[in-house]
């Protein structure tokens, strides 16, 4: 049974149709890489799934419950968000909080977990991403890669059923990209369910169980990583892989 399913999602900004009926099916333990050229709607798709944008049409089935995008209540949105984690392209760490409090805030405020317990959890996840030493620093004192690893820890701390990554390494240089991808690979190995919007083809090929290729608001091709990279069927996909691999 799938953990998360998106049926026929549509989204337009004014007259610009960004998502034209997309279906996605994610099973527990899946790592789904969403690839595609800029402007294909990948990020919008991810933002709609977590209700940062309101989709015009379609439904989300999450953990057996169906939520039509146009009729979901604020309480339902909050329920779903409390069981998911989101990692942004530009980290979005809380600028006025230390690394520790960035991670604990979602636990202490949104879930009313006592600070001592939240701190133990925070230390645990910060250890996982290798950021335990910087626990009392502010985001502005960290490198981009470090900030993104803290952002991953923040998302992990709430024990989400699924993690969304929105181009998590696009703002980073190759070395910092590598350290973030390393953390993500570790999560995948631990069985974390993830949807990753990315331009990192290496990660998509080596880590993901499933690849979705989008262009112009539709899914052009999808399949398991090996088939997708070795035997793409659509001309658009072949062109994309040829251009990006060269």
């Amino acid at each position: 049974m799938s953990l998360l399913k998106v049926n026929n999602i549509h989204k337009a900004f004014g007259t610009n149709e960004v998502l034209k009926g997309i279906n996605i099916d994610v099973e527990k333990g899946d790592v789904v890489s969403v690839l595609g050229p800029s402007g294909s709607g990948k990020t919008t798709l991810l933002r709609c799934i977590n209700f940062l944008e309101s989709a015009d049409e379609g439904e989300l089935i999450f953990d057996g419950k169906t939520y039509p995008f146009s009729k979901i209540s604020r309480a339902e949105i909050s329920d779903v968000r409390k069981r998911t984690g989101f990692v942004f392209q530009n980290y979005n760490l809380f600028a006025n909080k230390t690394v520790l409090h960035n991670v604990t805030l979602g636990l202490t405020s949104a879930r009313h977990i006592p600070m001592a317990e939240a701190e133990a959890k925070a230390r645990d996840v910060l250890q996982k991403v290798g950021m335990l030493e910087q626990i009392n620093m502010y985001p502005s004192q960290l490198s981009g890669g470090q900030q993104q690893r803290v952002a991953i820890a923040r998302a992990l701390a709430t024990d989400p059923a699924i993690l969304y990554f929105d181009e998590p390494t696009s703002a980073l240089d190759p070395q910092l990209t590598a350290e973030v991808l390393e953390v993500m690979k570790k999560l995948a190995d631990d069985g974390m369910t993830m949807i990753v919007v990315t331009h990192e083809l290496g990660f998509a090929r080596d880590v993901s169980t499933k690849v979705v290729f989008m262009a112009d608001g539709v899914i052009v091709e999808e399949g398991d990583a090996k088939t997708f990279f070795n035997n793409p069927t659509q001309p658009r996909t072949k062109e994309f892989l040829r251009l990006t691999n060269s």
Binding site: N50, L52, S78, G85, L93, A110, R154
Partner: protein, 224 residues
């Protein structure tokens, strides 16, 4: 100008003026500043969150207050409130008028500061499951307050001096007290210079406090 008599007058009157500064001017400005800051946060939040109807009311409030002189507002309150059956001592009335007046200006400062907080902060809050009010309290307001702090302090410094207008509604504050002393001695200029120096002293202390406050509020690890 500065003969022996004037000098004696200045020395004698200094504590009298200062006492009214400490007893009336500063309490009036401080009370109105604190209340107006609280008011401004509410008015700014209503606009930031785009609450229907309340938002229009807030815009109307800001429009009226910013479009009329403080002195006129004091007069309208002084003669108008008793007609509505509200009788209060002039000091309280002055606190209310200064609060409402400054609240309108500070609300715009606060709103601008809140809008300067990147949208991603709000989104990140949502994504860890926080509610709108939780995000406001823990994330947006602290960052906005840090940004607004120098402007808010500007307002406080302005207000310390504007309290002299309260004399028009019979509040005997530092300036009125000076006028009284000057009237008794017929020696106006030296006393007005003296009270100007006392205002300057107050504002110097406030400027120092602002600097301390900025350091204390910190800049979240950004080295200056």
């Amino acid at each position: 100008m500065f003969d022996q008599n004037t000098l004696t007058l200045l020395i004698d009157s200094f504590p009298k003026i200062l006492v009214y500064g400490l007893k009336v001017t500063l309490p009036l400005a401080t009370a109105a500043f604190i209340l107006s800051t609280i008011l401004s946060v509410f008015v700014a939040m209503v606009q930031y969150a785009n609450v229907p109807i309340l938002r229009q009311i807030c815009r109307f409030y800001i429009w009226i207050i910013r479009g009329t002189p403080l002195l006129v507002q004091l007069m309208v309150a002084f003669y108008g409130l008793p007609l509505l059956g509200i009788h209060s001592n002039p000091f309280i009335m002055a606190v209310i008028v200064f609060t409402i007046n400054e609240g309108a200006y500070s609300a715009e400062t606060m709103r601008a500061a809140m809008e300067a907080v990147p949208a991603g902060q709000l989104e990140a809050g949502y994504c860890v499951g926080m509610s709108y009010m939780q995000i406001m309290w823990h994330i947006i307001l602290p960052q906005a307050f840090r940004t607004a702090f120098p402007s808010l302090f500007n307002a406080l410094i302005s207000m310390v001096k504007d309290t002299s207008l309260a004399s028009s509604i019979t509040v005997v504050e530092m300036f009125t007290r000076t006028k009284q002393i000057a009237g008794q001695s017929y020696n106006y200029l030296p006393l007005y210079i003296e009270v100007a120096i006392v205002y300057l002293m107050f504002c110097t202390v406030l400027t120092y406090l602002q600097k301390r406050g900025e350091v204390r509020l910190g800049s979240y690890g950004v080295r200056k």
